[in-house]
Symmetry: C2
Amino acid sequence: MTATAAAILIGNELLSGKIADKNLVVLAKTLRELGVRLARVSMVPDDVELIATEVRTLAQTHSWVFTSGGVGPTHDDVTVEAVARAFEQQVVVHPELATMIEGVYGESLREGHLLMARVPERARLVRSEVVPWPAVVCENVMLLPGVPEIFSMKMKLVASIVEPARPFITLAVNVNVDEGTLKPALDETVELFPDVEIGSYPTFRDPVVRTKLTFDGTQRAQCEAARDAFIERLGSEAVVGLEG
Amino acid sequence: MTATAAAILIGNELLSGKIADKNLVVLAKTLRELGVRLARVSMVPDDVELIATEVRTLAQTHSWVFTSGGVGPTHDDVTVEAVARAFEQQVVVHPELATMIEGVYGESLREGHLLMARVPERARLVRSEVVPWPAVVCENVMLLPGVPEIFSMKMKLVASIVEPARPFITLAVNVNVDEGTLKPALDETVELFPDVEIGSYPTFRDPVVRTKLTFDGTQRAQCEAARDAFIERLGSEAVVGLEG
């Protein structure tokens, strides 16, 4: 059984279009390499009750949930409280995080900085030698920061919580015909290979590649067979490139 | 009462990290300029039942729903069917769309191309002089294509379905102190201006701007008063820039 994941992207700044999310694609690629299927993503505002409901629902229906954003010390950072509320836990100061924060700020330490040591009471810290700062995990939820550079650094910690599985592989074929034209060949291939996930993506104003077809699965031989069956049906003269 | 919107980003290619979504931020900005509050976004795979459930739920709880993706002619394009199912409608061929498609493809027309003329039976077409191809609207759901260049072109049609409202305005202050340090000044300001939505965003390794504060609302005077109250409390020597 493939492990599943959901992501919750948190922040008014995303919903108002002030900032474009950059974290989801990074998480999606990381999970794919680990063989975890990202099944759903929600983007919600900085509202503790909304986030708590989302966390509770998705944590019940997925192996893992990853949150992005809302972990700073200001009034609009409510993710820690929301995750605690989702699991009916209190928010407490984690002594080890507090010590680390004191070490970073030294003389310039303010009360506000220590708010970043708050965690749900039954949370644990996940760390590795290559990631300088631990990540907070509560039940099956990993809390990640919204700042893209830090979010990306924490991706190395995802491997330390999920069960490694056979990774997905992707093969691709670029063709010079449009989707309407290639559809009969594609439909036959989809029918023949139910275990291969086949995708079809039109390009826009590309003079050479009109459509990209992808063949995904955990078995390379199956993906190759599906790809080759498609090419045979379409005619190899339409193929302008292979990937993977 | 501010109109609300939800967006549904559709596609296995987004969840697998093959493609980074580019459409959400474009939609978010468009809605904001029209004074519509984007309240939630969901990203789901190419699964007709999942999409139908999402459409049904979000259409009941928001003024408008916008879908992105899944409107082509291949097996993984199931948005039209899903929206039809959400509202218990049949899928039919729209004669006007079919005529337009025949005009585009001429001699090279295949059956597959005409699949792009399918719509839920009670859908309507929305058009404007500046957008060459109409958009399909069914109940309070606008179906938009996933290809970013085409998605962006269709943004001009959003204004023709939503009730124009007073747009949101955003003021911003860039400061050279971190969130932990500015928190007391910020908390007082948040308390004093409940009608202004105040956001605080740390930057990463910016040598000058440590935090960006935003002041959003529909009343410029209120936003300005909140911004000025914050600067007064923090001390103007910390301010390195104003926006808006």
